[in-house]
């Protein structure tokens, strides 16, 4: 048991390290000239500099060192919470992140909570409904929700609820009012993904013999559905929690841009626009760390919730395959 936990933690750390290394390789090894990118980010033309100035610039950004030295520098920095200096804003990247992460966390956590409630309710109703057209409609609804591009949902909500009805502000991040439409936009996607997994899981659970036994004992349909089926059907959905968290984080890029909210997502969009490589690396690393951490917690908690899965025999549960836009 202890061996499993330690092994799983080591694995999580290894995946995170590999994800950081891969992103570093993409950003620093691909054919583009990092000096040119970084000068452009700082708003300077490369030609306007003398060779001496260029060398000084390279030294300042650490680009005179070998790629291995740069990698080592970044890696040890990240382990100490130091993500380097932003090229376009000339401030420590960690300051930028800490200033913005609150807004994104509020957005992500609210969206995750709303998706859990909405996704579970939808899956519950879709499998409980008896009238076939309603059942088909509810079962197909998540596919609809997952098909709409998020920028479209966001613009539609702005047009309808801000400009037509005037209920919510179209942009900004003041107060709970401004949070509603961004949260709904993200939840349309994430609750659809969750509902799809839950409906499938419900269908499998409802065909189990113990459900028939419960009904045969004389329990009502709703009692069986809520008390016997729901808990077991909800278990496999836990395995996609990591995916859902990843989705809320990537969704924040589009959503924060459309609703002009301050947050890590908008920071990512701006950094790519100004080719601010250290910031992009930091955002990707933080997002990957969140994803890895959630998956680790789910893996460690799962056997406590489902005693049929034992740690000693390795991973038994199959992770459901999820395909989504982001």
């Amino acid at each position: 048991m202890t061996r499993y936990i330690v092994g799983r933690i080591v694995q999580a750390v290894a995946v995170l390290w590999a994800a950081f290394t891969l992103t570093f390789a993409i950003l620093y090894l691909l054919p583009s000239d990092p000096m040119e990118l970084q000068l452009a980010a700082a708003g300077v033309q490369e030609d306007s500099l003398t060779p001496d100035q260029l060398a000084a610039m390279k030294q300042r950004f650490g680009l005179d060192q070998s790629i291995w030295a740069q990698y080592w520098h970044h890696l040890t920095g990240v382990l100490h919470g130091d993500f380097g200096t932003s090229l376009s804003q000339q401030v420590p990247v960690s300051d930028l992140l800490t200033a913005r992460i609150g807004g994104t966390l509020t957005l992500s956590v609210s969206a995750a909570l709303l998706s859990l409630v909405a996704g579970a309710t939808l899956a519950y109703l879709a499998t409980f409904a008896r009238w076939n057209p309603l059942r088909v409609f509810l079962t197909r609804l998540p596919a609809l929700g997952a098909s709409f591009p998020q920028f479209f949902v966001a613009l539609f909500l702005i047009q309808f609820f801000s400009f037509q009805l005037g209920w919510f502000p179209a942009t900004g991040n003041e107060g709970a009012q401004s949070l509603v439409m961004p949260v709904v936009t993200i939840s349309v996607l994430t609750s659809s993904v969750l509902a799809q997994v839950l409906i499938k899981s419900f269908d499998e659970t409802l065909s189990q013999p113990y459900i028939a036994t419960a009904r045969a004992k004389g329990l009502s349909r709703s009692a069986v559905h809520l008390k016997h089926a729901f808990r077991n059907a909800a278990l496999p959905a836990m395995t996609i929690l990591g995916v859902l968290v990843g989705l809320t984080v990537t969704s924040s890029i589009v959503v924060e841009t459309v609703f002009t909210r301050e947050g890590v997502g908008k920071l990512a969009q701006e950094s790519v626009l100004s080719q601010d490589v250290p910031v992009v690396l930091a955002v990707v690393t933080v997002a990957a760390a969140m994803f890895v951490l959630v998956n680790l917690v789910v893996d460690l908690l799962y056997p406590l919730l489902d005693p049929r899965i034992s740690h000693t025999r390795g991973r038994v549960r199959p992770a459901p395959e999820v395909v989504t836009a982001t």
Partner: protein, 296 residues
């Protein structure tokens, strides 16, 4: 000679091919599909989007770049199906002329994902052991970076434009293909006809190409249709964020992003192109789902 024997055994061993072989099976499936009205509608819409991308002149007589200041910002109507933008350009025409860019990007992304994903999945599932373990850990690492962020890193390194965006999206959807292919190869590998082919003397290479690959193809093809929709959303999102083709090119995402500035006065500028894209993705998803139910 021996391989021919193996092939005969294989064909006898496939119950699905019974009475009339694969052709008859396909025909029966097509008849079944033709009876589904929503599926037909979705297929027709997808077909229309593709045809209109290659021959936009069939569906519009106007020029996508010619400005008419006197016709600026007119709402949707009979003369202008999607209305006009602030320069008086016909929006419907601009959407149609914008299609090839997005469709090209989608195809590039899918080819990258298919080639890399199929390759990784086949090698991983077929060889197993250490190779499988190493490749699948690699896929785990790719999956640990949320797709859009992985794409953003690649765009940062490659620069902006249709092709970098397509490459970025293609790489981001590789893991799904690799996993699906691997699972299928693992499943097919243990089936009796593979053993029969081997016993008949076929080389592993031949077994792989002639028996395992064609029989693992189904779910991968279904995933490809589904991922075409995923790729379209991702590509449109990236160009919406400002990383796509430079103006005046009318990529879908760029059109929608431009229209965003006029949402109060001219809602159609972003919502109608958005709807056009959303319906395409919806159609592709529905096709994929129907095919999945059919092959089950």
């Amino acid at each position: 000679m021996s391989t021919a024997v193996a092939d005969v055994i294989v064909e006898d061993a496939l119950p699905a091919d019974e009475p009339g072989g694969r052709r008859a099976n396909l025909a029966a499936n097509l008849v079944q599909l033709a009876r589904k009205p929503v599926f037909l509608l979705a297929s027709l819409y997808v077909l229309f989007v593709i045809v209109s991308a290659f021959w936009p002149k069939l569906f519009t007589a106007q020029d996508p770049y010619e400005t008419h200041p006197e016709l600026a910002a007119q709402g949707p109507g009979a003369a202008h199906l999607f209305g006009t933008d602030i320069y008086g350009r016909d929006l419907w025409t601009r959407v149609l002329y914008g299609s090839p860019l997005t469709i090209k990007a989608t195809l590039i992304a899918l080819v990258i994902a298919l080639v890399a994903g199929l390759g990784l999945g086949i090698v991983s599932g077929f060889f197993g052991g250490v190779v499988d373990a190493v490749l699948m850990r690699g896929i785990d690492v790719l999956l640990a970076i949320p797709g859009l962020l992985l794409a953003l890193s690649i765009v940062t390194a490659l620069g902006y434009g249709t092709v970098p965006v397509a490459v970025a999206v293609g790489v981001a959807i590789v893991p799904g293909f690799a996993r699906t292919t691997r699972a299928e190869v693992l499943r097919v590998k243990t089936l009796p006809y593979v053993e029969a082919a081997r016993a008949g003397g076929a080389s592993w290479g031949r077994v792989l190409l002639r028996h395992i690959l064609p029989n693992s193809w189904g779910p991968v093809a279904v995933l490809a249709v589904l991922d075409a929709g995923v790729a379209i959303i991702a590509i449109a999102s990236l160009s919406f964020l400002g990383f796509g083709a430079a103006p005046p090119a009318a990529e879908w995402g760029t059109l929608i992003a431009d229209g965003r500035n006029y949402l109060v006065t001219a809602w159609w500028l972003s919502l109608l192109p958005g709807l056009y894209v959303a319906l395409l993705v919806l159609g592709l998803n529905h096709i994929s789902k129907t095919l999945q139910e059919l092959t089950r």
